[in-house]
Symmetry: C2
Subunit: 481 residues, 2 copies
Amino acid sequence: MSKASQEGITVKKAENFDEWYTQVILKSEMADYSPVSGCVVYRPSGYAIWENIQRETDALFKKDGIENTYFPLFIPERLLKKEAEHVEGFAPEVAWVTETGGSKVDERLAVRPTSESLMYEVVGRWIRSWRDLPMRLNQWNNVVRWETKNPTFILRSREFLWNEGHSLFATREEADAERDHIMGIYRRITEEYLALPGYLGKKSKAETFAGAEATFSIEHILPDGKAIQGPDWHSDGQNFSKAFDIAFVDKEGNRQYAWQNTWAISTREIGVMLAVHSDDKGAVVPPRLSAIQVVLVPIVNDESKGAVLREARKLMGKLEGRFRVRLDDRDHLTPGRKFNEWELKGVPLRVEFGPRDLKEGHAVLVRRDTGAKRTVEADSLADEVEGELDAIQADLLARATDALAKNTHEASTLAELKKTMKEKGGIVRVPWCGKAECEEKLKAEAGGKILNVPLDQGTVLGRCAACGEGKAPWAYFGKSY
Amino acid sequence: MSKASQEGITVKKAENFDEWYTQVILKSEMADYSPVSGCVVYRPSGYAIWENIQRETDALFKKDGIENTYFPLFIPERLLKKEAEHVEGFAPEVAWVTETGGSKVDERLAVRPTSESLMYEVVGRWIRSWRDLPMRLNQWNNVVRWETKNPTFILRSREFLWNEGHSLFATREEADAERDHIMGIYRRITEEYLALPGYLGKKSKAETFAGAEATFSIEHILPDGKAIQGPDWHSDGQNFSKAFDIAFVDKEGNRQYAWQNTWAISTREIGVMLAVHSDDKGAVVPPRLSAIQVVLVPIVNDESKGAVLREARKLMGKLEGRFRVRLDDRDHLTPGRKFNEWELKGVPLRVEFGPRDLKEGHAVLVRRDTGAKRTVEADSLADEVEGELDAIQADLLARATDALAKNTHEASTLAELKKTMKEKGGIVRVPWCGKAECEEKLKAEAGGKILNVPLDQGTVLGRCAACGEGKAPWAYFGKSY
């Protein structure tokens, strides 16, 4: 353990969120700064979270019929330019390779900001007839978007890890039907694993992915009241298939262009998750994703040491098969010091075991999220631990859901929206007719943006807060990362 | 299925290895060319092999105490230059990012050819005392080495996927002791999963990794008689820790530099594996790594169709939990056409099930590797399949081991070496004193290179084939990719 990380968090989450967030990430040893500005180093406990997200998401993808692939990192400039809106959207953020070895390249190579243009140049070759469709491919890889505005630790990094799903269908109907599958998978991963609630909806045209017809997103909220976009799914229609000539012969023998979708979840979620759940003592990580789920800290004195450690190792034997567990039998640290360290690092559950517990056949469970202590029978330790981990996982989601609800407000008019944004912040439900000029007006006057428009509108329709037009659906509005 | 891939391999492995190899990779749909010369697209069945290699290797790494991390893709030029030999070795192959968005960068960024210089700039911060060691980190990522000489499909690609392990120890003894762990893991993966034998030994100084003190490798042989380097492990001594100031306070309170190792296995192995096992009908893949292990092909006529398919689905139920299995119930293809397709794609075992099998309670197993057919009781199908897959896995290794032995020769003198290289090719065991000038002489005169020097020398020591010096250890010599 480095000295720096043994020191606790020195600012309060409620008082200085930005500094608190950075300290939590660094001092919990989840991640570190790198020598390349805007790029993140994921340390073992942070990377383990990504591995767990990846494993669970990938299992759901595979169950849904999606297959993994790998396409090259570099995209020749001419390919990136094939779809006009796509290149326009990404060109300002592209990192270009212009030299290899000692020589200039003939054609600049983009480090992929996303792989549409490279993949679609290739997959067209693999498709002849409707029998080759649907084709649902995925990659887990790294992409680079050289944002100059405000790279933010993990939340907006210049290189990030993600999945990029790319699917091709014979009809628009089949392509559209994929949305609920993919957003259902992301909903499960964000809620059941990351313990992060969010609002699902359709992005405005201005916020739609470059080259897509429609984008659907899950929008999270951070403790500072700002929204942040989570996983998304894009309906590309035939934009790319026409640009890249991805065609097939349908059942009637006619040549048709494929209908395409893309979708992604990224390492950004790790930052959102840590920001939402963590507290003034350090990181708080949902048990299903934590590198270590349980730490067993034996509490010994000179005379009890041998007996306590022997029994602690027996307890470990009961836990090891079922949980990711660590025995902290380091000699040179006091129990209090160990407690602080594991709390800083966000291990969800601590088991304390001392001479009195040994005598009485007990163990003490301490929850990271609430600090609640409970004495349990050592004989039923594994079951008790399982119950406690399940409770922590459920409670983290419940608290985050509660916080999202408390930070979500309503406004019927522009005046109300401005007042709510100024006085309360957070996410505001506001009626918006869907026109771009009204979106611009709300943005300019209320200081925020349309996050998305929920699919499930209920029956209440208002008048557009910008133009007053009737039967306007609700949109989510807020400041956003 | 695209039309091209329905056509079989049109050349013989024994007659035109290079063309045969390319056809096998492309037509089995394992991989494809990409628009970036020298870079590979891994299609689902090829990428699944890498996922399986990764999963098995990673499990052994974790059991050995190695933790996964992720470090950025880009390395600022000044860092790459910190270790002199290292930069000299890699600079000629580096792809450089010189522009981001619309602007020139202040400092060129290397797309990582390997991550020593980036990682070691960071990990030094994480280490204070001997208590922080050993630190054994790994990354599964992509690297770029812009080889201009002869990129070869999968075997030498300009971007490849690999693991890069990086470990730091307090003493040379501990660092050295890691070698048998890592090379033991690689030996298990190559033999027990890839079914690839190889020669383990120490590389000559000329062939040692740039910046390392010593490199140990497993050398495979390809069917054309050329050797190819497989996984490797490097002892870096204190070269990098001194260049990057990675120091710790030892138990006595003295400041010491860490001792470092690195190690890797890459996607190249997939190419070696396919080249070694495949045949004139297409790909042959070891069952433990194959995306699909078993394909069940029902053989139906109009009257039996319903009953055969119903029973085939029941058989699938018995297989699905235990194996990666596919039911090929496509209507528009004849059984013969299906057999050819799955043979081309390298599925290890085919189950045929027709009306007569239904009546008699049988099923027919057909091995991809030998073509051997065997009728088994349908009731015990799953156990029979398991036995057959185990046999295929074992036989592939046995045959490859046999081929390696047959392609390994001995030579005691330079004249013998030249004659053997000319007449037989393959790998030749030859006594070599270890001097660089003798290595150069053997290379220049016999047309090949020192592959490595086996650790287990037995008792036979000869005279150096180049200088005649006595007590020279045996080295493996051969042409190499």
